[in-house]
Structures are given as C-alpha cells and as structure tokens.
Symmetry: C2
Subunit: 156 residues, 2 copies
C-alpha cells in the first residue's frame, strides 16, 4: 500500500441551495486582527492535483469581507445577490455572474447590499501568501478618494 | 519601459445573460478529430498571475462535449440548465451549482438535456497536457457497462 493518503474525489456533489454535499461551512477566516462581518466560507475544490482552489463566500445583508491586499490574485465570479466591491480605487456595483479581477497587491473588499446577501466564487492559487491589512496611513490614503471613503463607510 | 506586455486586468466585467464584457465567444476546440456537438467556450479568467484558468462552456440542448481523458483535472461548477455527465463509469444528472470533479486520466463527457442548454464553469491548471481520445478498444471497454453505453448513445 502507498502510504500517501489518496485524496477523496467524489465525482458529483449536489448543490442544495447555497450549500454543497461534502463541503463544510467554515468561518470566513481565523485572523482575529482582521475586521469583517457576517461572512462564511465553503471550499468547493481543493486537491493536491489542482494548482488552484475554488471557494464560495457568502456575505449576509450589510456584511463585508476584510479590506486587505496580497501578492496572489483573486478571480471572482458572483453567484447570488448584489453588493459592491472595491478594487484599488474602483468601486463597482456587482450582480450575479459578474467577474471581478483583483491584481497583485491591490486593496479590495466586498460588501453585500443592506437588504440582500452576496455570494461569490473566488479562484486562488493553492500556494499563496498571507493577506496584509491596511495601516492607518494606508487607510488615510485610500480615504483621500471620496468614493472610496463612502464605500469604506458602507455609504455606497 | 518594461518590454513585457502588462496584462489587461479590468477590475469588473459585467455579465449579460451568459455572455461577459471583454470575453470572446470561441469555438469549443480546434481539434478536428474530436467528436462534439453544439458547444461554445468563453475564457473568463486567464492571466500570467494565476495558476489556473476559469472557462465557461455552454452546450446547446442535445449537444455534448468530447469524450476524453488527460493528466490534468477538471473542477466543474454547473451554472445553468441541466444534463448528464460521465466521470469514469459514473453517470450523474447535473443541475445548477452542482460540483463535478474529474480526476487525472478519467474518461469524462458532458451532455445537455434534450430540451435545455447546459452551462458550466470549468477550472483547470494553466499548464496542462492535451486530451487523449478513446481508441476503439477503450470505447468497447466503456460500453461493457450498460449505463455508460446508454449515456454514450444519448439515451440517459
């Protein structure tokens, strides 16, 4: 017998609403320093045979992801609901099946609409760096742009 | 100036039905030897900064993808419609948001329902091998399983 664990690879995992068979509902992240609200994570694909992972994040109405940046990119496909995203200094309304590209070292955050959850797929490299949080100076610089400040305050 | 082309990375590309801004509608594949029917391809994410690509395939009612296998894996998320997939010797009905995992060197094919298109996202490694088509012997072996034979003949 090979002593390397064989990955479990069920051919088909059914969706049931926005939950999936054999996929655990997890907290968004473990980092206690990061500010975020009302968001869950499900890892849909993660396998030693795949160079990337596909995760599903769901943000409750009024919730938001962490404002952060990192070397690795995010490739996001919205699945449900509506909200707004910040990528660099761009603020965009997003709706189902829209695509969002987060380039390396670009500040980004996702916010659900006040009255509707926002669910999205996010593809990332399996091997990736840890996110960096903004310093007070970074935040001050971001806030120099009025529309970015409005986004950060949940006023968009 | 750096003479390496800077990738174009629009932060946001809106979905319009099952077409996307700045995404070209392409033929499914160029290989003339492969048997397939009524299927298109849109590459949603492909970037030198990403280890994987995310593509959207749409199969018209009654259409099907190529029966093939390869070293690289497929990580599929159904977006619209309904149909059936073959993975190894498993035949499964699929519906929106279901997940399909195709392990290395596993025969696979996707078929749309007779009366409904099937659209799905497929995540693959950016660096990957070319697909292999079945030999007559491979086909005979697959057909030994009655439910696989029914799938291959479009009778499921």
């Amino acid at each position: 017998m090979d002593d390397v664990a064989k990955p479990e690879r069920p051919a088909h995992r059914a969706a049931r609403g926005y939950r999936w068979e054999k996929v655990e509902l997890r907290p968004y992240k473990e980092d206690e320093r990061a500010l975020f609200k009302s968001i869950t994570r499900q890892v849909l694909f993660s396998d030693p045979g795949l160079a990337s992972e596909l995760r599903y994040f769901e943000v409750d109405p009024g919730g938001f992801s962490t404002l952060e940046r990192h070397q690795h990119m995010h490739a996001v496909t919205v699945l449900r609901g509506s909200g707004t995203c910040l990528v660099g200094n761009e603020v965009r309304a997003i709706k189902p099946h829209d695509l969002v590209t987060v380039p390396p070292w670009t500040w980004h955050q996702f916010r659900a609409a006040p009255d509707e959850a926002l669910g999205f797929l996010c593809m990332v490299d399996a091997l990736r760096d840890k996110p960096t949080l903004p310093t007070p100076d970074d935040l001050a610089e971001l806030r120099e742009d009025a529309k970015v400040a409005a986004f950060l305050d949940g006023r968009t």
